[in-house]
């Protein structure tokens, strides 16, 4: 029926909800295999001084934790700002603005992260806060866009039916529009998460920590093992976060829609 109104046809390619069951089961297994292989290598390989210092378990765990915290804090902040803004922009009073905003969001996506990060850092100073703000700005756009597109694709006759039955505007939003938009909004959130996990590697440039440190050290000190380890862990992290996003998407999608 109506919910299948090809969610994003004209609406500037919002991220699609995902439905692969195979991937849901397979992905954690693949990640475990990669991590297992790496751990094996780490235990057995002959490491020089620098390498063993950089790849010490404690260091890696710290960096990973920083990376994850950075990612989650950023995403949480984006969620509580972009979703309400998207909702606001689809209300009658602001509806005119929503199309240009979606256009801007699509264009803004093309801006280079590293540029944003460095520029912002020069403005608000180095550190965690600057990293969160700049990564957040970057992740903000897909969530905003998908919220708007998700709400726009809700069949207007359903909204009118809801109003015609005597639901208040807020009821219609909460009980009809948002549930029907959830798959697309969640797809946007997942995109944002993956973007942030990847780009959080740049945070190290402004002293905000994260696994990017391994890559930078690897490059500057010509230690390929360190560089590759860093890249590998970030990749696995990105895959796992994408996976978690998919699982959450599934849970959040109302029964009857999937």
């Amino acid at each position: 029926m109506s919910e299948q109104n090809d969610p994003s046809s004209a609406e500037a390619g919002a991220e699609q909800p995902s439905h692969g069951l195979g991937l849901l089961v397979g992905l954690p297994l693949i990640c475990a295999a990669i991590l297992g292989g790496w751990t094996l290598w780490r235990q057995t390989a002959e490491l020089d001084d620098i390498e063993s210092r950089q790849l010490a378990w404690g260091t890696i765990l710290d960096l990973t934790r920083e990376h994850i915290v950075l990612t989650l804090v950023t995403t949480a902040i984006v969620l509580v700002t972009a979703v309400p803004l998207g909702i606001l922009l689809t209300r009658p009073a602001f509806r005119r603005l929503s199309t240009p905003v979606v256009g801007f969001a699509n264009a803004g996506q093309a801006a280079p992260v590293i540029g944003i990060i460095v520029l912002l850092a020069m403005w608000i100073g180095f550190g965690f806060r600057a990293a969160v703000i700049s990564l957040g700005l970057y992740a903000f756009l897909p969530v905003l866009r998908n919220t708007i597109v998700g709400l726009q694709q809700v069949d207007p006759t359903l909204v009118e039916a809801a109003r015609g039955m005597g639901m208040s505007g807020f009821d219609v939003l909460r009980r009809v529009e948002l549930p029907l938009a959830i798959p697309i909004i969640m797809a946007g959130v997942r995109t944002a998460l993956v973007l942030v996990v990847g780009t959080a590697s740049f945070a190290t440039f402004i002293n905000a920590g994260g696994l990017g440190a391994l890559i930078v050290t690897g490059i500057t000190l010509f230690r390929n093992s360190v560089l590759i380890s860093g890249a590998l862990i970030i990749a696995v992290l990105a895959l796992l976060i994408d996976w978690a996003g998919r699982v959450f998407e599934r849970i959040a999608t109302p029964k009857g829609l999937s």
């Binding site: 919910e3 009118e160 039916a161 015609g164 039955m165 029964k255 009857g256």
Partner: protein
């Protein structure tokens, strides 16, 4: 053009016919009155609805028909304030609809639209329970109401209440849509092309069901349709609109068929209006044949013996609620041993179905007749093809011998009451709608 001048006399007359029809049953509907209502959409110069005045009598079904874009939907949506009139007032039960909070108003007006418009993320139960929950009914009452309504629209509660809309056929979705509209027992039900999206057979069944529901509930129903046959079948009255929601004619189906107010109505109703009168006759007006019935699980041979001695060619198998479950020939009955439900060859029409519909079904039937069911699909009897053709022949003969040269086929009793005094066919009236929209004209004269 408006009919404001004739409105004063109308409610009285309308109620009379309403009462005549419902006899002992109590009318739970409310009267709706449009007084000089105009709606101009922003940015448009021509009004979509141009000073419409209209009384919709309590407990009646009024069908809005007219060409696309003539303002049917707009008029309908002004009743539940999805659109606000630019000027004029609408009252329900004498109360201006603007005097109430709009959400409050809407919770007491059922709203059914094409395809059902069910919320895909809510189960059938949750869809139906929506308004009762908005009204704060307690859980128990909501649950029993949901089941009651599913029963009413012919869906088994156990089977369907937990399904999601995408797990239902189009016709089933539409049924749930009707149930949802009736959920809080509103006195007024608005329907916008409710059966537009289903196939003709399903549409016919849904129409029959709506009629039997209406027989029970006596709501005020305003229903928009594109289909003049549907309007003739369902409507106590039909409102035929022209561009700008100008009334071309507002009258009973029989009167409209017998005396179209002007050439627009004539064109709209179509040239075969004598055939269309078949749509005014109900199956219940003809004699039904008794049939030998048996229960699901009964012995086939025994049933066949009973049928033979009653000189019947088949056995009608009923389920535990006396609904037809199968129609088996004698030889088959003997062969199968125990009688079972089977939808093969089972052609069923509601007793309120029109002869039109019954003939349609018969053409598809292999038994030379159809099964007729009453309230809640209970079996009433068999309508045979010969009965129908004989009836048509009698009527045609009567018409030829000139008792009335207005009807090729004599309309049913209560239609006759409404229209028998109409002799001068409105042929001389130039200002068509002013006069002819008033069904009480004949009686006043």
């Amino acid at each position: 053009m408006s009919t404001a001048s004739t409105e004063a006399a109308e409610p009285r007359d309308a109620r009379d016919t309403g009462e005549a029809r419902s006899a002992d049953r109590s009318v739970s509907g409310a009267e709706i009155v449009f007084d000089d209502v105009t709606k101009t959409y922003p940015g448009q110069t021509a009004p979509a609805v141009d000073s419409l005045s209209l009384t919709i009598p309590a407990g009646q079904v009024v069908m809005f028909v007219g060409p696309s874009g003539c303002g049917k939907t707009t008029s309908l949506k002004m009743i539940n304030r999805l659109h606000e009139p630019t000027s004029g007032t609408i009252t329900i039960d004498g109360e201006d609809i603007r005097s109430k909070d709009e959400t409050e108003l809407r919770r007491h007006i059922g709203y059914v639209i094409q395809g059902g418009s069910l919320f895909p993320h809510m189960s059938v139960r949750d869809n139906i329970a929506l308004v009762p929950r908005l009204l704060g009914w307690d859980k128990k009452r909501v649950a029993s109401r949901v089941d009651e309504l599913l029963d009413l629209v012919g869906l088994s509660p156990e089977r369907y209440r937990d399904r999601y809309p995408r797990e239902l056929s189009g016709g089933q979705q539409q049924r749930v849509g009707v149930a949802r509209g009736l959920a809080a027992d509103p006195p007024v039900l608005l329907m916008d092309e409710p059966f537009g999206a289903v196939d003709p057979i399903t549409r016919q069944r849904l129409q029959d069901e709506l009629m039997s529901i209406q027989e029970e509930l006596q709501k005020t129903i305003v229903c928009v349709t594109h289909d003049i046959d549907e309007a003739i079948k369902l409507g106590d009255r039909i409102l035929i609109l022209q561009e700008g929601a100008n009334i071309a004619q507002y009258d009973t189906p029989a009167n409209i068929l017998a005396a179209p107010a002007n050439s627009f109505v004539e064109d709209f109703v179509g040239s075969d209006s004598s055939l269309k009168q078949l749509a005014l006759m109900r199956v219940s007006e003809l004699d039904l044949h008794d049939a030998v019935t048996a229960r699901v699980g009964d012995d086939g041979a025994e049933a066949a013996r009973a049928a033979r001695s009653a000189r019947q060619g088949g056995v009608i198998v009923l389920d535990d609620k006396r609904r037809p479950a199968a129609w088996v020939g004698l030889r088959e009955a003997e062969r199968v041993g125990t009688l079972r439900a089977s939808s093969r060859d089972l052609e069923v029409v509601d007793h309120r179905a029109t002869l039109n519909d019954a003939l349609d079904s018969m053409l598809a039937a292999s038994h030379g007749g159809v099964l007729v069911t009453g309230r809640r699909d209970e079996f009433l009897g068999v309508l045979e093809f010969d009965t129908v053709t004989e009836h048509i022949q009698t009527l045609t003969r009567e018409a030829r011998t000139g008792e009335s040269d207005e009807y090729a086929i004599t309309p049913s009793e209560d239609e006759l009451q409404d229209s028998s005094v109409e002799d001068d066919t409105g042929s001389g009236s130039k200002h068509g709608s002013e006069d002819d929209a008033d069904p009480s004209r004949g009686e006043q004269a």
